[in-house]
């Protein structure tokens, strides 16, 4: 077969020691399922209640955030946190958030979306092409290169941020969108995921047949492989999207003009202004409502695209 034995692959075998000759775990995508409900016992009500208690821990803070964003500043201080105040101030708060400082919140939102989408599409594209080549094409040095990329997963990105800032400062890239987008294009984990995914999703026989028919490698990739790799591509896209959307450290050091800030840095700045006190307390409800508004798109995206999360994390976890 074309794919080199991955350093991690043997662990899959040993992990299944208990029954030698058991079928290997399903390929990436994790969608190849075999499971009947019949082996399970019946649902337990006591267990369900206990787990729902735990679920409250995860949901109540978000409930608090939602409720708090309906309150005026005085309402925050005078009413109980987990329930609504007498006045329902949500629309007024949202209007305040979007009009404060000449609507800078909207600019931050636009920046966040722009940085996240451009970085994610770029990172997923680069990772897909590279991952496909590592999984399906034979070339000299592939093992060494891939090992190098795998090793880079361990490198803490924040250790890179300061030298990257200094390098960017030399070429005048700081305080521009490039300062956020360029470092976000590198996703070693994305290459790893795409390699695992491509190994399972693209049959070698298909590639051989296309080659015999005289199709060029580029044509094979763009018209055959890419379609098969689409679910993996979306998974890497989502990972990169969320990573850039949530990024705080990099934009914090790279950007100095508020009009380039993403939401994370902007909201943190509002918060530190509000904490500095002296008359800026009106910012409390602004920070809370802004936070609430900014996480809604992400939560919606997560709920609708969870299939891709599962499959991507499955590929990463099972094959590691």
């Amino acid at each position: 077969m074309t794919s080199q034995p991955l350093a991690a692959d043997p662990t899959v075998g040993t992990a299944h020691d208990p029954a030698d000759g058991a079928p290997p775990p399903p390929g990436p995508g994790g969608r190849v399922r075999r499971r009947r409900g019949s082996v399970h016992g019946s649902p337990s009500t006591i267990l369900t209640i206990a787990v729902l208690g735990a679920v409250a821990y995860f949901l109540l803070p978000l409930w608090w955030l939602a409720v708090a964003s309906t309150k005026s500043n005085t309402g925050l201080f005078t009413s109980f946190g987990l329930w609504f105040a007498d006045d329902f101030n949500l629309l007024q708060n949202i209007r305040d958030v979007f009009t404060f400082q000449n609507g800078i919140f909207l600019v931050w939102t636009r920046n966040t979306v722009f940085y996240a989408v451009v970085s994610a599409v770029g990172a997923a594209g680069l990772a897909t092409a590279a991952g496909y080549a590592f999984a399906k094409l034979r070339f000299r040095g592939s093992t060494v290169l891939f090992a190098g990329i795998l090793g880079a997963i361990m490198i803490p990105l924040t250790a890179l941020a300061i030298p990257t800032y200094l390098l960017f400062a030399r070429v005048g890239l700081t305080d521009t969108p490039w300062a956020i987008i360029l470092p976000s294009l590198v996703s070693p984990f994305g290459v790893y995921l795409m390699r695992v995914y491509a190994a399972g999703a693209v049959p070698d026989s298909l590639l051989e047949a296309a080659r015999v028919d005289g199709a060029s490698e580029a044509r094979i990739f763009f018209s055959i492989a890419l379609r098969l790799l689409a679910p993996g591509f979306v998974t890497v896209l989502l990972f990169a999207l969320v990573a850039t959307w949530n990024n705080y450290f990099l934009p914090l050091i790279m950007l100095s003009s508020p009009e380039w800030y993403p939401l994370t840095v902007g909201l943190a700045q509002w918060q530190s202004t509000s904490q500095a006190g002296s008359g800026s307390q009106a910012l409390f409800s602004m920070v809370i409502t802004g936070s609430f508004v900014s996480i809604i798109p992400l939560i919606v995206a997560f709920l609708f695209l969870q299939r891709y999360w599962q499959s991507g994390l499955a590929a990463g976890g099972v094959k590691q």
Partner: protein, 323 residues
């Protein structure tokens, strides 16, 4: 030796002519294809590699380079060898930060991963009603950016309108001091746990779903309970996933920055410039303007992270080999 080699080389020549002709026809075609495949592979890998080198390898090397210099007062920089590193390993602020992260690692990571594993096992057992709702609810905090999570918990912990303080006041008790010197680290642990239990749970859950049922069907027939099946079959089977989550957690812990930096504006007296190593590097570089020393700290931190991840991997491998 040489005679066998020549024999082997000669062998194809002794084949019937018809077949030899066919092989000759295919041979140049094959190598041409191979070469084209190789060229294409480099072209596919190249765009990633360019960005990889420019955004990862070069900054890393630059950071290493910078760490050997020191800015003098006159404005010139001079080569000082390992001086920055010697200073770092004697710098109490840096060492305190590292030790705080070690403490964080030893307390928070086991708690978080145990919770993730338990939830994943419960979900996988199929003994739960409202499966989907539970799974999504636990996972949803991961969708909340770390900064927003820290802002939110900062208010929840707060004494002004935080619900904990409100409840305490209603019961005529002293409000809990979540942001005090003694409790702060645990408060941060809670934020990180809240954010990442679901993420790790999904990784482990996905691995559990990939175990062939045949592996534990027999044990069930023999009367093994759910806990026994989980302990002796499921957990050993998902060891690779547990290793992955442990390594990600180690990397995440030593990089801790967002939460302490946000909480710092609420409790500036509790969180100092070097509360975490990463915060220290940031403050050195951008507030203290000690760029060379900051580079050394960042480089050292990276080394610590890689060393700890490597030790985790190694001990896991050894354990695997023993069993």
């Amino acid at each position: 030796m040489s005679s066998t080699e020549t024999q082997q080389k000669d062998r194809p020549g002794s084949r019937p002519p018809g077949r030899q002709k066919g092989e000759r026809d295919r041979a140049p075609h094959d190598t041409g294809m191979r070469r084209r495949e190789e060229r294409a592979a480099y072209l596919f890998v190249l765009p990633f590699l360019i960005v990889f080198v420019a955004m990862l390898v070069v900054p890393l090397a630059y950071s290493g380079y910078l760490s050997f210099f020191r800015q003098r007062l006159i404005g010139a920089t001079s080569f000082v060898g390992l001086e920055n590193y010697v200073r770092a390993v004697q710098d109490q602020t840096f060492l305190d930060g590292v030790m705080r992260m070690v403490q964080f690692l030893l307390i928070q990571v086991p708690i978080m991963l145990t919770l993730s594993l338990v939830f994943a096992l419960i979900l996988d057992s199929g003994r739960l009603r409202l499966q989907r709702f539970v799974r999504l609810s636990i996972f949803v905090p991961y969708a909340v950016p770390g900064v927003i999570a820290a802002l939110m918990w900062g208010y929840l912990y707060g004494r002004d309108f935080g619900p904990f303080a409100q409840v305490a006041r209603a019961l005529d008790m002293a409000p809990p001091q979540f942001l005090s010197h003694e409790v702060m680290l645990y408060s941060i642990m809670n934020i990180v746990t809240w954010s990442f239990v679901g993420y790790n749970m999904i990784i482990i859950f996905a691995a559990l779903r990939a175990i062939p049922t045949e592996l534990y069907e027999a044990a069930r027939v023999d009367g093994a309970g759910e806990v026994r099946v989980a302990w002796s079959i499921k957990i050993p089977a998902v060891r690779p996933a547990l290793l992955l989550t442990t390594i990600f957690s180690v990397i995440g812990t030593f990089q801790l920055f967002n939460e302490p930096n946000i909480l710092r504006s609420i409790a500036p007296n509790v969180i100092g410039v070097g509360y975490t190593p990463n915060l220290y590097a940031y403050n050195l570089a951008f507030i203290g303007r000690e760029i060379n020393y900051a580079a050394a700290i960042a480089f050292l931190l990276g080394t610590v992270i890689m060393a700890v991840s490597y030790v985790v991997q190694l001990s896991a491998l050894r354990k695997e080999r023993r069993s």
